[in-house]
């Protein structure tokens, strides 16, 4: 009995120590401020969905004439080809072909409207889309490319940086759409460059970045790297928008509640005072300027709530970061003179719900505790009955 008491006391002390450790380790237990209001407070902005920024200044979240890389997943398990679209404007994107709704809605996506079965899908909202209902939940499918344009002039060029830091040229099969293998295991980066020409004495250069993680497929042969490119590729894009990770470890997904940090550089040097805008699928925008190190950070907000109050970890939303910079860099191209050069870089992010949105630790601890108590009680009762039966037999 004495030993059991000592053991119980030790367990209690251990539990207290664990609780103390958990509360003292903010990285693991701190609730991320995922709600929009908190995020606004955090970012110093006071704006609503699609609203205007309260802070007046040159850096506004209004962005026009930008190109961005949009990722669409291959179908089925074991897919070998990655599909990327190079799009002009049109963010937030409309639901794509493989986007579906089950018990809840996809994060950050507009909720599909219920339509009578007889109504023509094309007629619905004037959009070239089709929808159908399935037993056991809503499901919606739309034709690809019916929303958001794959729009890339012929001079757009694309490159893929593999985890080995090899650079491969990617050819777009149709304008703005490219599919390519990702044979290696690790983080792949896609760069796009488009010379926008000269408009109103300003030369426009468009850059787009997208990173994705591949588990590799050795069945796809490794392609030879591009050594010299077409003259543009001399190493890195001149205007760079790079994601910075606090611990230096690159991750392939971003979660709500995290701080996302970016660095802007021109010709390898960090740029101060560059206006960077983050946009979400529902239209929330935030604009900030870079500091002395060319860095800017955004709070990744949560945009959608599911009916059940819990998110699925597999659902993701698209966020877009846009950086723009004007440089007094004069020159001439194709007989057209220009006084300034406008750099515009975009980076697409896939944001998943934070772990706290789809899991419950407290429930797990409760369930484990309940199991221990219930199983312990069952064993004690069984032993008690057996002893009683033995005593009866003995008597």
């Amino acid at each position: 009995m004495k030993r059991i008491l000592v053991f119980t006391a030790c367990m209690g002390l251990g539990g207290l120590a664990t609780a103390h450790f958990a509360s003292a380790n903010p990285a693991r237990t701190k609730m991320p401020m995922v709600h929009e209001k908190m995020a606004m407070k955090h970012s110093g902005m006071d704006m609503k969905h699609g609203g205007k920024p309260a802070r007046a200044g040159r850096c506004t979240p209004m962005i026009r004439d930008y190109y961005w890389l949009d990722y669409s997943r291959g179908m089925g398990m074991g897919r070998r080809m990655r599909v990327l679209h190079f799009k002009h404007n049109g963010f937030p994107p409309k639901p794509s072909a493989n986007m579906r709704w089950g018990g809840g809605m996809r994060m950050g996506s507009p909720m599909p409207e219920k339509k009578p079965a007889a109504q023509s899908p094309v007629a619905a909202g004037g959009r070239d889309a089709s929808s159908r209902s399935m037993a056991g939940g809503r499901r919606m499918a739309m034709r690809p490319n019916a929303h958001g344009r794959d729009d890339a002039p012929a001079n757009a060029a694309f490159w893929l940086e593999t985890p080995d830091k090899d650079i491969h040229r990617i050819d777009a099969q149709t304008p703005g759409k490219m599919s390519f293998p990702a044979p290696q295991w690790g983080l792949h980066k896609v760069f796009a460059y488009l010379d926008g020409g000269v408009k109103a004495d300003v030369r426009r250069k468009h850059f787009a970045f997208y990173s994705f993680y591949s588990h590799g497929d050795k069945a796809v042969e490794k392609q030879p790297p591009v050594l010299d490119g077409n003259g543009y590729w001399e190493g890195k894009p001149e205007f760079q928008l790079t994601r910075i990770y606090a611990d230096g470890r690159q991750r392939y997904s971003t979660q709500t509640g995290q701080q996302a940090k970016f660095r802007i550089s021109l010709h390898g040097k960090p740029l101060k005072g560059v206006c960077v805008v983050m946009m979400t699928q529902k239209g929330w925008r935030n604009a900030r300027t870079t500091d002395e190190n060319g860095e800017v950070s955004f709070f990744i907000i949560k945009e959608a709530e599911t009916a059940g109050g819990r998110e699925s970890r597999r659902r993701s939303a698209k966020y877009l970061v846009v950086a723009r910079h004007m440089e007094a860099y004069a020159g001439e191209i194709d007989g057209k003179r220009y006084a300034d050069t406008r750099y515009l870089a975009t980076m697409g992010l896939r944001v998943r719900p934070s772990q706290l949105e789809w899991e419950s630790k407290s429930m797990a601890f409760l369930m484990a505790g309940f199991t221990v108590v219930a199983a312990g009680a069952a064993i004690a009762i069984r032993r008690h009955r057996r002893r009683a039966a033995n005593n009866t037999k003995g008597a």
Binding site: G76, G78, E311, K361, M367, A368, A375
Partner: protein, 324 residues
């Protein structure tokens, strides 16, 4: 040296290597036939079942090509490990097994009695691990061919009690949770948590309770006959005293009853060698590696363990005088 003490030392070293090995840049590969949980952030090796389930989640035609070769290669590495030390992976290396053994020591310290299943119940529940093994093969195949939802991905890992427990040793509480993504994930992660609770409770009733239902043990038992590590019994020397059965943490009855079969590495045997240590008959039981017997049952050693080493008798005054 006491074999059980040696086993505890080996288990502790293996635990440190497998749980903290990554912190010292140690990587023993991810095809280990033991619960070197892949969810431990900086582990020193990975459990075979994780990769195995993911490799099976492919369309069947893919197994005719590169994917099939990769799968065969993984099974080959696993088989190699299994042949070399057989079930000693469970008895001597498994980190989750060590935790159960430590809980058993705690039970002994608290003087709580063991309970035993009836022989019929024991026989009935023995097949559970084979059912789990079949499911962990069939479910990923179903996922790969579009028959089952992806929420069932790596079903065994989701319900494995080692996943919530082992990362705790690196201060990672993230796996001790219930995943509310969907009903399958909720059921599987809930089952893992219930098994954790059961592990702590049943350790005070039965030794190595969860090992009896472990699909890894079922997988390893496929290589029993070809394993280099074996356990031999010479039936004519056995007196059926029952010591071996009482010592066995897996409660294998054959070890006491069998007289004809020489190799006693049965489905449930974890090669802990407690039976050899507990046997009071000279050479009735012996542990062999590649045909070489490195440990034999020894009556003298048995008595020494029971009563301590015999003390030398004190010399009588007459003898002292004689010596002088």
């Amino acid at each position: 040296m006491d074999v059980q003490r040696l086993r505890l030392i080996v288990q502790s070293i293996a635990f440190i290597l497998l749980i903290y090995g990554g912190l010292f840049a140690i990587d023993l590969g991810n095809r280990l036939p033991t619960f070197a949980c892949a969810y431990v952030p900086d582990n020193g090796g990975g459990c075979f079942l994780v990769g195995f389930q993911h490799m099976l989640s492919r369309p069947l035609p893919q197994f005719m090509g590169e994917q099939g070769i990769r799968l065969l290669k993984a099974i080959g590495i696993f088989a190699l490990w299994a042949v070399v030390i057989n079930k000693a992976w469970c008895g001597w290396i498994c980190p989750f097994g060590l935790l159960q053994d430590l809980l058993t020591k705690l039970r002994t310290w608290l003087s709580i009695d063991l309970s035993r299943f009836s022989w019929i119940a024991h026989k009935r529940y023995k097949s559970v691990k084979y059912i789990l093994l079949a499911l962990l093969i069939l479910i990923p195949l179903g996922i790969g061919n579009g028959l089952i939802s992806r929420d069932w991905t790596a079903p065994f890992c989701q319900m494995c009690p080692a996943r919530p427990i082992l990362p705790l040793f690196q201060g990672d509480v993230s796996e001790f949770m219930i995943d509310f993504t969907s009903i399958p994930t909720m059921l599987l992660t809930g089952a893992a948590i219930i098994l954790v609770g059961l592990m702590f409770t049943t350790a005070f009733v039965k030794r190595r309770f969860l090992c009896s239902y472990c699909p890894m043990l079922a997988f390893l038992s496929l290589f029993d006959k070809v394993g280099l590590f074996s356990l031999k019994k010479y039936g004519d020397l056995c007196t059926r005293c029952g010591n071996c059965f009482r010592a066995c943490p897996m409660e294998i009855r054959e070890i006491e009853e069998e007289k004809s079969i020489k190799n006693l590495v049965t489905q449930d045997c974890i090669l802990c060698l407690r039976c050899v240590e507990a046997c009071p008959e000279n050479q009735a039981l012996e542990a062999r590696f590649a045909g070489f017997a490195f440990m034999k049952a020894d009556a003298k050693a048995f008595l020494n363990r029971q009563h301590g080493s015999p003390a030398k008798p004190k010399p009588t005054p007459a003898q002292k005088k004689k010596n002088k």
